[in-house]
């Protein structure tokens, strides 16, 4: 980016393609303000209409670029203004999420509380002051206890997120989360975590079980779906003929029941953690003493835990996705996308290391520049698609001809360059004859037709023909040019008159 300004390049990525289409289970609507400032719908993914949102949010605040979020009824509403380069708000993303599971809790709580208020007032008045105080104290303690637990839970998830972002290993994260879940969910005594990897759910953490033993078992999508019908499932001994994740009636499951402490389990909560509409993990939380140990409070806490952890998983998945794409980009920046061979950049980086090694070990290095003959004819006769296939075949053949530590790169078009370590004139001659024989083998271009191509090869050696990579490639290129002109397959740079313009 230094020096003369040549222009600029941009990549446009669609927000619609990129992430809005990925949201499967949430109602979302996006509206965009046109030039007159009126909203218009671009994409609606579910039932809510534009008016559901525009009536709720403060339009002036949105136009000033303020993010707004709040809860109304059974939904959370989020409005995120998007700014253009000048800072003007040109669009707003509205998102609506169903939080019925939380609101239902609220309603139940309210109902319970209203009833309790009235009942306690009457009972308190009718019976004794002492009873009233005791009862009140119980409520107060219960609420305080509940508040402390939720606070702990929130802190735990926050802590895990921070630890993950600092680079903590995922396995430790699951173990930590499981321990926190057992600590927070009332009457939980043990449990295990299964995480989906390569299409199979495998045990990655356990408390009260032998993880090494559990690690021998895995379950597929169908098996898990049979067992887990909703986000939080409560299972009690006696209610189900098959129990726990091993409710699946297979030999494998039965065997896993024997190895686990399954017979001891009295009741269990199975939490399905969902991210982007898919079950990504299962938390089994168990009690070994009482089949009615898990009450409404325990389930409520478990459900809240599952929704927090779901969000954490979405973030973790995003991080993984970025990492994966970064690696793919890294690969593409070093390889030719057509043949999969290293490109000029990788050749340069790797070649310099090879030359440094050769200098230290006093070895020779051969650089061979190959230009395919008759390739243009194939392209003109059979078209570019078959021409590309031919290049792929040549690329594969060259890659098979060289040793693991040597390099065959595609420089563009029908030009390939080989860099062979510890190779002198006689070795080069034998080796390049083999390369030519390999290239000249017929290539099936269609079901009926084979084509036969060859190559002109120019060869240069380190250190005789050049001491740096650029000079060696230029020398090999100019030798190849001579070979092409003379119509011979192979020429060594030293056998040319050295007057070929390397900058041609």
């Amino acid at each position: 980016m230094e020096g003369e300004y040549r222009g600029s390049v941009e990549a446009n990525v669609s927000l619609v393609e990129g992430f809005i289409k990925k949201i499967k289970d949430e109602a979302i609507i996006k509206t965009f303000f046109d030039e007159r400032g009126n909203p218009r719908t671009v994409l609606a993914k579910s039932q809510p209409e534009l008016e559901d949102f525009t009536g709720i949010f403060n339009r002036d605040d949105l136009l000033q670029g303020n993010l707004q979020s709040f809860v109304q009824g059974d939904y959370t509403y989020v409005a995120i203004p998007l700014h253009d380069f000048t800072g003007r708000v040109f669009a707003v993303i509205f998102e609506r999420k169903n939080i019925t599971h939380i609101v239902e809790n609220e309603r139940k709580q309210k109902k319970l509380m209203s009833f309790s208020t009235l009942a306690m007032a009457i009972v308190g008045g009718m019976i004794t002051l002492l009873l009233g105080i005791v009862s009140e104290q119980r409520w107060k303690l219960k609420i305080l206890d509940q508040e402390t637990k939720y606070w702990k839970l929130q802190q735990a998830v926050l802590e895990v997120t921070q630890e993950y972002l600092k680079g903590k290993h995922a396995e430790e994260m699951y173990q930590f989360l499981l321990e926190k879940a057992i600590e927070t969910i009332p009457h939980a005594q043990g449990g295990s975590v299964l995480v989906k990897r390569d299409g199979q759910y495998r045990y990655v953490a356990a408390v009260g079980y032998d993880l090494a033993e559990l690690a021998n078992f895995s379950f597929d999508d169908q098996e898990v779906e049979e067992c887990v019908k909703q986000r939080v499932t409560l299972r009690r001994r006696g209610n189900f003929p098959h129990f726990h994740v091993s409710c699946i009636d297979t030999e494998k499951a039965k065997k896993s029941q024997e190895t686990k402490r399954s017979p001891e389990i009295q009741c269990s909560i199975v939490l399905a953690v969902e991210a982007k509409g898919e079950i990504v993990a299962l938390f089994n939380i168990d009690n070994f003493e009482n089949e009615k140990a898990f009450n409404v409070e325990a389930l409520k806490t478990a459900e809240l835990f599952a929704s927090y952890v779901g969000m954490l998983f979405v973030r973790v998945q995003l991080e993984w996705e970025i990492e994966k794409q970064r690696k793919e980009m890294e690969y593409l920046s070093h390889h030719d996308p057509l043949t999969g061979l290293p490109n000029r950049r990788m050749f340069q980086e790797y070649g310099e290391k090879i030359l440094a090694l050769a200098e230290r070990q006093k070895k020779e290095v051969m650089v061979a520049f190959l230009d395919l003959t008759k390739f243009k004819d194939v392209n003109d006769t059979f078209g570019h698609a078959l021409g590309d296939e031919l290049l792929k075949t040549v690329g594969t053949r060259l890659a098979k001809t060289i040793r693991h530590n040597d390099i065959a790169a595609r420089f563009g078009g029908d030009e390939f360059v080989l860099l062979i370590y510890d190779c002198n004139h006689s070795c080069a001659h034998t080796f390049l004859q083999r390369v030519l024989t390999t290239i000249e083998k017929p290539i099936a271009i269609t079901s009926q037709e084979n084509v036969k191509i060859s190559a002109n090869i120019g060869v240069a050696f380190y250190p005789q023909d050049g001491t740096n990579l650029d000079a060696l490639v230029r020398a090999a290129d100019s030798a190849m040019y001579v070979a092409k002109k003379q119509g011979v397959p192979l020429i060594f740079f030293q056998h040319t008159d050295h007057r070929v313009d390397p900058n041609r």
């Binding site: 619609v16 989020v78 040109f90 309790s116 950049r345």
Partner: protein
């Protein structure tokens, strides 16, 4: 006997009222707690969307940085060789479109004139100065910008560095 009923009744009513007040106070605390959950939930939902938007921006940046590392692409652009650039870019355009939801790669000259749009090869040579203030900014500052805009196919995120 009658005189004893009134104090008892008064105590009962007072107790009932006191218990009512205390229970109501606990009830309010319970509701506050639920409000806190909901606030946390909505906050997380907003953060989630914001980080996903940032992620889309990251994709655009990855694409452009991969292109800028590609010497052949840069050389073809410097030479003004559109044909070569098309040959090099179209396979990448297809790949990024499938993998990353890329809409297009767009090259602009130093004069802020469109040089190549991979989404529409027939459209080039148009002057962008009037409506692409972000490119002018890149030219003036020689610094990369990341911006959002409304395109034909909906909103998009673009990343534009100087080359």
């Amino acid at each position: 006997m009658r005189s004893k009923i009134w104090p008892l009744l008064a105590i009962s009513v007072s107790v009932a009222f006191l218990v009512f007040l205390l229970t109501f106070f606990s009830y309010q605390r319970g509701l506050n707690l639920l409000e806190l959950w909901k606030e946390e939930y909505v906050k997380s939902a907003a953060e989630n969307v914001t980080s996903q938007i940032a992620f889309e921006g990251e994709k655009a940046r990855l694409v452009v940085e991969a292109l800028l590392r590609n010497r052949e692409v840069i050389e073809a652009f410097t030479r003004g060789d559109r044909e070569r650039l098309i040959e090099l870019l179209m396979p990448l355009h297809e790949l990024y479109r499938k993998e990353l939801g890329l809409l297009q790669i767009h090259f602009h000259t130093a004069e802020v004139v469109s040089f190549l749009r991979t989404a529409d090869l027939s459209r080039y040579g148009d002057d962008l100065k009037e409506f692409r203030k972000d490119i002018l900014h890149v030219r003036n500052t020689r610094k990369a910008t990341s911006s959002m805009s409304m395109g034909v196919m909906g909103p998009n995120i673009r990343y534009t560095p100087p080359s």
